[in-house]
Structure formats: C-alpha cells, structure tokens
Symmetry: C2
Subunit: 256 residues, 2 copies
C-alpha cells in the first residue's frame, strides 16, 4: 500500500478517492485530548466544528463539553483543550463533545474515507496497528507507477495551524508513516518521506520541536506551555481512536 | 527575517504579501536547466507556460527553444529538458525560451514578488547569496509572534510534480533554508524546518533521494534517469538566476 501525507487540510484531495483510509493528526492538541479522554474511559468523543453546535450536542447527549478557540477554554464549557485535564475522575463513562480550531475541521475534510482515525504522538503506534487491522488484505494494483491514491491506501492528514504547516503534526505523520514502512506494510510518497525525515531528526527531542513550533509558541503566549510535555510523549496511549459512523471517536481495543 | 516553504504551488498564499522575496524551486528539471543554460553563457532564459506561446516567443526573439511535456522533448524544439544538453556549444550568447510542466507554472504563481529567483540544488548557495544581496537590510517587525510573511521575508516555492509534493524540490528548499539559518540570516517556519530535516537526512545521498522520488521514477520510465546525476549535484553553478522585469532569468554575478 501507499502512505501519503497531506501537510495541511488544503492538501487533502477532493474528492477523496474511494476506499482510502484517513488518519487525522492534531498533536497540539485536539487528538492528544481525544486519545487521553478515551484512555481515561470516556464513552466516546464527538468532534464538532462549531461552538454553538457543540453546546447543543453536549446538551442533547448529556455530555461533557470541552474545547477551545484561540487556544483558550470557552465560556460555560466543562473543560478546555488540555489533554491532562481529561482524566478518569472527569471522563470515565461520560460522553464528551469537543470543539477545536483545526482538528475538528480536519475530520470534516476526510468525510467518506474507508476508515477515519484520530492520531497524535501519544497513540501513534496504536493507530498503526488499528489501521492495519481495519484495512485487512487488499490486493495491490498490478501496475503502479504514479503515486495517486487507490482503495486500501492511507492518507495521513495534518490538521496544521490555521492553514499553516504545523511541525508537531508532520512529526506524528512521520512517526506513523515510518512505522508502516518499517513493518514492510507501506511504501511512502515523497510527502511521507519528508515527514519521516522530520520525525527521525527530532525523535529524541520532540519537546524541543514542539516548543519551537508555531503551535507550541502560541500555547506559550497563553501560559499553556505545560501541555506540550503531554503532547510530546510517544505511545503512552495503547488503544487507537476510530471515528464510528455516528461521528464519535471510540477506543478500538487491539487484538494481543 | 522569516523563511517559509510552500510544498506545492497550491500552498503559495494568494495574494502574496507585499515585499516578499520568492525562490522558485524545480530540481527535476526546469531550474537545473535554467542554471546550466545561464552558466553556459546563454543570453537569458525566458520561462513560458504554454507550448504554442513558447514557439511564438522563440520565433520573436530568435531564441533556442527548449522544454518538455510528460518529460519528453517537443516536436520541432531545439532542446529537451536535460540540463546537460544546455552547454556552451549550444547556448553561448543565445537567448533561450523554455516551457516545462511544473516549473514555469510556479514562476507565474509568485508574480509580483519583491524578487524572483530560479533555484535547484546546482545553484542553491548562489541563490542564498543573491537573495541576501538583493534583500539588503530590512527592519524586522517589532512585535512578531505568528509566522505570517511580511516585507523582507523569503518564500521558497517547490514546483512539485503535477500538484504533488516532490522530494527533490523539498530537499533543495531545505538546503537553502538551512543555509539562511546557519548564516544567522533567517528563522524558519515549521515548513522550513521540515524541509531542512529532509535535506539533512539525505544530503550525503541526494541521488538516492532523487531516484526514489516521484519525479525520478517518472524520468526512469522514459529512459532519462541519467539526468538525475546532474540534478543531484550541489553548488556546481556559481551564479544565481534572477527573473528580470521582462520575464527573463539572467545570471546575476555575485560580489566577491
């Protein structure tokens, strides 16, 4: 299979080719929150792009309401967008509705994909395993010279930061693409190879990369730099987050 | 100053902010051809997007006509798109008109930039020096938190391969961005940092990167893989190529 990377939401091919599996990556911070909330036992996380729609969805589902605009918590919300706040005491067995600036838009951009996963550094390897299990055995096209995506291929979508490339998301894409390649499960496009190089260059100092990134500097200006420590850890969450047909991310336990 | 990278032509901000300097990068092969032709003494290279317009421009200027579609030379053209063919015997003191699939489109995308340069790996360092000389001393904005481009900043535009990311172009962008950073002349955006990581990862095996790239594999299928050897060499051309107001790339000798 081929693994490709969209560096921003604008790079996602429209329409998405049939049968392509999509991984939505937003390290700082939406998908780190999704992974942490599910790991803490939340009964699903529903991403909602619009703030008022998020309020309505939370009311309808009796859900915890979390999210941000400009990085900051919203009036009347239960939680902001700090992964560490989504712990078992707050989340266990509760449905969660989450609205964020970039991550929830990225989910909308891959509507109709064969499967949709929410990924960050914290659940990168779990995402790889979930993806491979969900994809199953799909025959490769007999003749394949170009790098156009076909059914069974994987597109890693970096949510980015307000339409700009975000290094934290590219690094996580590189982590996932590199793992797929090391397993012999995928060949990477030029974009995937570029993302792998970023991850490999910074894998021993991901916190350094995140602090230098646009997302990281924005968080520092609003006093939330501590969140970067959580977002920069790799594979602390053992289960992937898959978007079900009802638009809710749920933990998808892996076979041992 | 800030140095940013557009991974594809589609990533170029529209409109381009005033006063931004633009470097158009097409390693395989348009800008390698421009660099070689100017180094061989050509009296300027005029990039023209359309094949028929290229024929007309060549006739009007008594120019050598070169270019490709699908990588292959065009009927009635003097030269194809192989950098090695643009030697002194053919090019000295002759104007050249060049039409290619991606590189000439990238030039159009940055129309109106403060200066426009044509760059590849072969003239990367010359481009850095030309750019710094042309930019001169521009005051940094007093308050600068985000990564939006302002006057005096540099945008490296990867021409890509039919709207896909091309590793050869990203590597050259990384080479240029890294040199600007090492000189203490620029801070890189997240996109620039990503490109630098690709170049640094592959700098001792650029031919390996180009052979694996989409552009390189396309060339191999039409029997032109030998061109990659020329395109993968760094800094063999000592003068940068700047686009003059009349739409012609000319060599811009550097002060010693």
């Amino acid at each position: 299979m081929l693994v490709d990377v969209a560096f921003t939401i604008g790079d996602v091919p429209r329409p998405l080719p049939d049968g392509v599996h999509a991984v939505v990556i937003d390290v700082v911070r939406a998908m780190s929150v999704v992974a942490h909330a599910l790991d803490a036992g939340a009964d699903g996380v529903r991403p909602v792009a619009d703030v008022e729609a998020a309020r309505a969805a939370a009311a309808a589902h009796g859900a915890l309401l979390g999210g941000e605009r400009g990085g900051l918590p919203l009036d009347g919300f239960d939680l902001g967008n700090s992964p560490g706040d989504y712990d078992a005491a707050r989340c266990a067995d509760r449905p969660v509705v989450l609205t964020t600036s970039n991550g929830t838009r990225a989910v909308e951009a891959v509507a109709g994909a064969a499967s949709i996963w929410g990924a960050a550094l914290v659940n990168a390897e779990a995402t790889v395993r979930g993806l491979l299990a969900a994809r199953g055995d799909v025959a490769e096209p007999a003749e394949r010279t170009g790098d156009d995506l076909v059914a069974g291929d994987v597109l890693l979508v970096c949510a980015g930061s307000d339409d700009r490339v975000a290094a934290d998301d590219v690094a996580a894409a590189g982590c996932i693409a590199g793992s797929l390649a090391l397993r012999g499960a995928a060949r990477g496009t030029d974009a995937a190879r570029t993302a792998v190089a970023l991850f490999d260059t910074w894998k021993h100092d991901l916190i350094g990369l995140l602090r230098r990134s646009l997302s990281g500097r924005k968080l520092a200006t609003i006093g939330l730099a501590a969140d970067l420590e959580v977002c920069a850890t790799v594979d602390t969450v053992p289960t992937p987050a898959r978007l079900d047909d009802d638009g809710v991310f749920r933990a998808r336990p892996l076979a041992r």
